[in-house]
Amino acid sequence: MLILTCPSCGVTGEETEFHAGGEAHIKRFGPGSDDDQFHSYLFAKENPKGVHFERWRHNNGCGKWFHAARDTMTLEVFGTYPAQTLEPPKQIRDKITAKHPGWKWREFS
């Protein structure tokens, strides 16, 4: 059972206090997009062994969504940050680089 820190209210809590919400930093494709774009947006999700970026909601707490950068193998949490962003903050990316030089996740590295 993971321990996460909500960047919105600052509470560090048990996994049961949160709810996982799938892959982070997904760009929405709506009407006007082609089938491939839409399919990719809705269904093609990352499932890495290692560095991953996820959406979480502090649903039994402040109710806010946030993002978590973590390692799916070692369960290390590199950091959590508010959901209102289009990319992981530099500080967290640097922290990942220190542990996993040359890491890559979708368009981020």
Partner: protein
Amino acid sequence: MSTRLATGGRLLETGRAVNFTFNGKRLTGYEGDTLASALLANDQMLVGRSFKYHRPRGIVASGGEEPNALVGLGTGARFEPNQRATTTELFDGLTATSQNHWPSLEFDVGAVNSKLGRFLTAGFYYKTFISPRPFWKHIYEPIIRQSAGLGKAPKDRDEDKYEHFYAFVDVVIIGGGVAGLQAARAAGQAGAKVLLMEQTAHWGGRAPVDGGSVNGQPVDKFVDEIVSELETMDNVTLRTRMMGAGVYDHGYVLGYERVNDHQPDAPGPRHRLWRIRAGQIVTATGAIERPLSFAGNDIPGVMLASAVRDYAVNYGVSIGDRTVVVTNNDDAYLTAITLKNMGLDVPVILDARAGGGGALADQARDLGIRVENGKGIAKVLGGKRVSGVAVCAQAGEGAVVEEIECDAVAMSGGWSPVVHLWSHCGGKLIWDDAQAHFRPDVDKAPTGAQGEAFVAVAGTANGHLDLAAVLADADAVGKAAAKATGFNPKRKAAPVAEATQAAPVEAIWLMPQGAGINLRMKSWLDYQNDVKVSDVQLAAREGFESVEHAKRYTTLGMATDQGKLSNINGLAILSDALNQPIPQTGTTTFRPPYTPISLSAIAGQARGEIFQPIRKTPMHSWHQENGAHFEPVGQWRRPYCYLQSGESTKTAVHREITQTRNSLALLDASTLGKIIVKGPDAGKFLDMLYTNMMSTLKPGKCRYGLMCSENGFLMDDGVVARIDDDTFLCHTTTGGAESIHGHMEEWLQTEWWDWKVYTANVTEQYAQIAVVGPNARKVLEKLTQDDISADALAFMSFADITLAGIKARAYRISFSGELSYEIAVSASEGRALWDKLLEAGAEFDVTTYGTEGLHVMRAEKGFIMIGDETDGTVIPQDLNMQWAISKKKDDYLGKRAQERSHMTDPTRWKLVGLETTDGSVLPEGAYATAPGTNANGQRNTQGRVTSTYHSPTLGKGIAMALVLNGPDRMGETLEFPKVDGTVVTAKIVDPIFYDKDGEKQNV
């Protein structure tokens, strides 16, 4: 025979006799006994029958690893199957029964399976019961069900109490042997908050039995002193009878405390589940002795050498008068020496090592014990009890050189560290060739949230088999754990124990080395699941080379003991068969719990009424007092109908509907979800959420809307009211309030976070009462001065009024097809208004109706219900609801998805109404058949029933259904086969059965 000795029994209080029964026989033991030791003291060696062959089985071990001695404990509401006799403390009045035999333990018909052993090999079930097909149901399955299986499930509700505990500590130490005790002292002295748990009732683990000296005094003295010292430390919590059940992510540990198993009538809970968060976890879990694989190693009287020693020293019980010891390591010599010193006979020690043992071997010889090096057991003689052993050379094929009479065999195949808890969360293992076991790879520990190692291992569990090394290791690990959690360990030296000189263990996986098939077929690996050496070899030959496959094919290690005795032996045999080194084969996955824990402990207090919270509306008590027949709707309890004297639910629903349509009725609609959406961008936001246009709604007006997921599927519906320019109130379904609010927040927070919108779920702030029927307006007019005439308060609008002196909001909306108002008031005034409405409605013969009446009336009107007409695969277009989908909007959630080819496929099943030709009610979920069959030989289908009711208004069965090309096939007849083989025919009709033009609701 096994018996109680005149002396010995370290753990016994021989002054206090304890009475118990086994299979109805009255027996006596002592306070301090386990059930196993007391049974052995009464010469009850035979305790059960094996799973597959029903072979007689006796006690093999003295702890949690015991595979055979599983019994049913207690009676009635306290009955519990599959309890290990070795971990059951004896108490006065204990009732135990043996399992898996018929008609009796002594004489078991199923033992005939043993004669069929040649045919009951690995994969037997898969191979044998394939064909002929009809045999499975009528012959194979009933017989297997009768003969397989262990204990029977309890019939009565568990009457004991259970609870959960939460604990937060710096260091958790699992295992209260000398390693755990010393690690706790080292960490505790540094100031860390320490929790030390021990699964048995006693501290010290094996050390007091095995002996030795620490700091110049006997080890049991050392244990007493260290426990006394720990007890005085405020930062150290000590718990016996508590097992570390599992280690999970980020330092989470489950502890299973058997508080009152040994004193069932004492106050307090029976079990306690500890949910622990720890900075560091130290597993000081010791090691388990392995059996040796020789023919007949399952005959009652063959026991682990350490267990023979335990029963002698701890409980003063001898397993037999003449005990043959067979071993591949020095430790078993301790058993021989102990027995000899107690005056018992040890005819021979068979040491499979050609070079024999070390210092202990010399000691044994000095005591006059015959020691044979390079020898092993060809087979054990005896049936329900050992009568002797046939001796052979370990290096040969089993030619018998001598037969030796004996009534017990003490075997030792070496020691395997208990690595389960280390491995639960990903700790890796390494194979230690010198000691012939897997032990934790301390450089590859499970990692926590910061990437730090959070599990450490100490003592024997870490591969240290010598007391001196154990204490030095435990001291270092305890100090390191304290340091890792931010404390400064004291510079105190570790206790010093006398080192022993042992000859190295030799890996002996089969005895004798060249045993033929007849011997291998009687050499048991897994006692509980009846897996033999020959089964694992057969699995390897048949291609089950992965250890995980071989496990499942042979069922090795899949019993309730999870292969604690058998796994290493089994994978060694597998490695040998595959001609590869053991580390290449690897182990199967270790999963929690370490030994089985009670389901009741997992449930804790969450049983019965407090299993989950129950939500009640402000009018709940009125419903209870007036015959409500409740049904759960999410966590709510809603009246299904109200039963008057002599009524069935069916007649009550009939009456409620007729009364509503004829005059006046009330419905408690408080559970309906109510979400405020407010802000300058609220309209824009709702345009994205709903398929229809909400931003054009005028204040004071209501509009029905549909909500789809981004996948395009219909997920919720409800009436939206615009309170003012900035504010909307969205009604959701009862079950959808929380999830729809979450859905709104998700999009607001993660996609449109710059939009100025605020949402609030106000579901429980309001009580809502639907006032329904031709007399609805009349009854409201009696209670208000405000103008609620058809012109002032038109259909699909709302007004703030004062009703019976209560501030209220009246929405003129209808889910029944009748003239209808939904009145929302503060939750605190809901009951008062309900009472006033009933009082004022008396002259109209007012009734109340429940959810079933609501459902039938909406179906009569052809209104859809989320969860009936929708199931997560239905889009609004399937329900002919294009009228509720805006064509003017560029975008809404689900719009792009609804453009996908499958969504626009003209052959998607569409909503229609159905009328049965014989007036009966169609079964729920019934399928309409079509000509021909599909690829699987099943009948083709062309539609399915989504809602089906008896309509009291129309006097016949009506239904809604999704049907292929349905709307174009009005008047056609479909066939619906029922489970009983009969067929109902139904005509396709318009889904609106009642008041097609809506004249009744719009008056």
